[in-house]
Structures are given as structure tokens and as C-alpha cells.
């Protein structure tokens, strides 16, 4: 899918990796905060927009209700592909960034 080749936003990326196990909305908010060490705090509006988009794209699906009758969501196969593509993209960013920075630093030290 062409859509999966674009960069994911931080919120979407964290939501997708949170949904490798079924979670309800607030569970996603808590998990994202935990995964990011408290740095990323999703607001209800941000989660709402992302969940709607991901459902429309078919990257996540509703998978029943939790004990408190809250809708739970889980990542789909196409969602997993999007995550893997994003990991590759991030890896490329890291590799290129590290390579260029270390090469430049070495050149400057040699001079």
C-alpha cells in the first residue's frame, strides 16, 4: 500500500505499536506514556483523530469490548506492515545521521 510508505507521526507510531496487544482507548494513552517514559502524553482529541484514521485505513480494527464494556482495538496485518516500514525508515535516518556526523567529526579531528 502506497500510504504505508510515508512517515508516521509519533502519535500514530506509538498507537500502532501499543496495539500489538488489544487495548481500549485509555489503555493506549497509558501505554504510550509508559513506552515513551512519560514524554508522549496523548490527548483525547489526538487519540480520537488517530484511531478514526487508522480504522478507516484498515491498520487497526475493533476487536470486542474490555471488562468495563470499552471498545478494544488491535493492529491488523497492513498496520504491522506500516510499522515495519516505519522502523526501516527510522533505521535509515539513524544510520545516515550517525554516519555523516561521525565522518564529519573524524575529518575535523584529523585537521
Amino acid at each position: 500500500m502506497n500510504e504505508s510508505k510515508g512517515a508516521l507521526t509519533e502519535a500514530v507510531y506509538y498507537i500502532l505499536i501499543s496495539l500489538y496487544t488489544p487495548l481500549h482507548g485509555y489503555g493506549v494513552i497509558q501505554n504510550v506514556e509508559k513506552l515513551s517514559g512519560g514524554r508522549v502524553k496523548l490527548g483525547a482529541g489526538t487519540l480520537y483523530g488517530a484511531i478514526n484514521t487508522l480504522l478507516t485505513r484498515g491498520w487497526i480494527v475493533e476487536c470486542g469490548e474490555s471488562g468495563e464494556r470499552k471498545k478494544e482495538y488491535i493492529i491488523t496485518q497492513s498496520g504491522r506492515r506500516a510499522v515495519l516500514d516505519e522502523i526501516d525508515r527510522l533505521q535509515e535516518l539513524l544510520d545516515n545521521g550517525r554516519r555523516v556526523v561521525s565522518e564529519t567529526t573524524q575529518t575535523q579531528e584529523n585537521e
Binding site: 482507548g25 490527548g43 482529541g45 489526538t46
Partner: protein, 207 residues
């Protein structure tokens, strides 16, 4: 002796969601928490500790200007209540275009939209809401004005004083009121446009 009450109702006209949110937060800062909203004009408050709550008003409409489906609206409400907010009941002809959320300040900062995309979506929805309201108000204004002119011209008494019928004055007064509302609804649109443009520029370099 007049009994001291813990509740009060105020009539307030807020033409933008931003104004409404600002007003409700000001009331909370003074120790009044909103508990009921009727027709977007009458706000009932209950006594609370000053600054005990934070209010956020969000749109129940999507960025394309369409009213969110019941399912989507329920999803938004679920996310808000799960994060510790209460939804203020609203009695309105069409109470599906805004969601009023109140959350205790002790739970920390209360932001509904925490990323640029969600902010853009929210401002876009607000702007579209205003554009739709402006068009609607303008059409009613034109209708009232034309109606008033027709009444004044066609129903003018042919004999005697030739006075304009009272109905025409009522139509003109209504048209004048609609013109004021039209201008008030029009004013925030450029500011929303500027905010959206700035956020889009920001998104080009950061999330």
C-alpha cells in the same frame, strides 16, 4: 432572608468556541463549575473550589465540516471520560456540534489535542463551523431584508398616512440583528485561517 444557593444560571452569548471555553474557565477560576448548558445561551454553574476544574470545549464535527457520527462522538466522549473528565450535559436543538469536558485541575494539564495534526483538524472544524454559520446567517439576513422591503413597499397603505406596516419594522430589526451576528461570526474566521497556516508551517519541520 434569601437562601444561599450553590447553583446559578447565567445567560451568556459566546459566538466562538474559543470565547466559550475562555468564559467557562474564568468561571471555574472563580469557583463555578458548569453543570448544564441550555441552547448554548444559558449556563448553569455549581459552586466548587476556585481553580478546581479545567474546561475544554471540543467540536463534535469532523474537519470536513460534517457532524461526527454517533459512534465517533461516543468514542471521543469515552476517551475524555477515561482520562478523568466529565461531560457537561447540553440541552440544545442540535447538541451534537460541541462537547464540553470538565476535568479536575489536580489531574494535571488538560489538553485535548496534543499533536499538530489534531490541532489542525480542530481549527479546521471550527473554521468550517463558522463558515457554515456565516452563510446560514447571511441568507436569513437577505431574506429578512427583502421581506421587510417588500412589506414596506407593497403593503404600504395607499391612502391616508401611507405608513409602513409594523411587520416591516420587525423584519428590518431582525435583519439588523442577523447582520450583527453575521459580522461576529465572520470575525474569527481569519484568525482560524492564520492559526491553521502557522501550524502547517510548523509541521513542515516538526511534529
Amino acid at each position: 432572608m434569601k437562601k444561599k444557593t450553590n447553583r446559578m444560571t447565567k445567560t451568556v452569548i459566546c459566538l466562538t468556541i474559543d470565547q466559550e471555553e475562555e468564559y467557562l474557565n474564568k468561571m471555574c477560576a472563580h469557583g463555578w463549575k458548569p453543570v448544564k448548558i441550555m441552547l448554548g445561551l444559558w449556563f448553569t454553574f455549581e459552586k466548587c473550589e476556585p481553580g478546581e476544574y479545567i474546561v475544554r470545549v471540543t467540536t463534535g464535527i469532523d474537519p470536513k465540516g460534517r457532524k461526527a457520527s454517533r459512534e465517533r462522538r461516543e468514542r471521543m466522549i469515552e476517551f475524555l471520560t477515561d482520562s478523568g473528565a466529565e461531560i457537561v450535559p447540553e440541552i440544545n436543538v442540535d447538541a451534537k456540534t460541541r462537547i464540553y469536558a470538565v476535568r479536575p485541575a489536580r489531574l494535571g494539564k488538560f489538553e485535548i489535542n496534543t499533536d499538530i495534526d489534531a490541532l489542525i483538524a480542530d481549527y479546521t472544524a471550527r473554521r468550517r463551523y463558522h463558515i457554515a454559520a456565516v452563510i446560514f446567517t447571511f441568507l436569513f439576513f437577505v431574506f429578512g431584508l427583502v421581506n421587510g422591503i417588500c412589506m414596506a413597499v407593497l403593503l404600504r397603505t395607499p391612502e391616508g398616512s401611507g405608513s409602513v406596516p409594523h411587520g416591516a419594522y420587525i423584519e428590518f430589526a431582525t435583519a439588523a440583528l442577523l447582520l450583527v451576528i453575521f459580522v461576529c461570526l465572520l470575525v474569527p474566521i481569519p484568525s482560524y485561517t492564520r492559526k491553521i497556516r502557522k501550524l502547517r508551517e510548523k509541521r513542515q519541520i516538526e511534529e
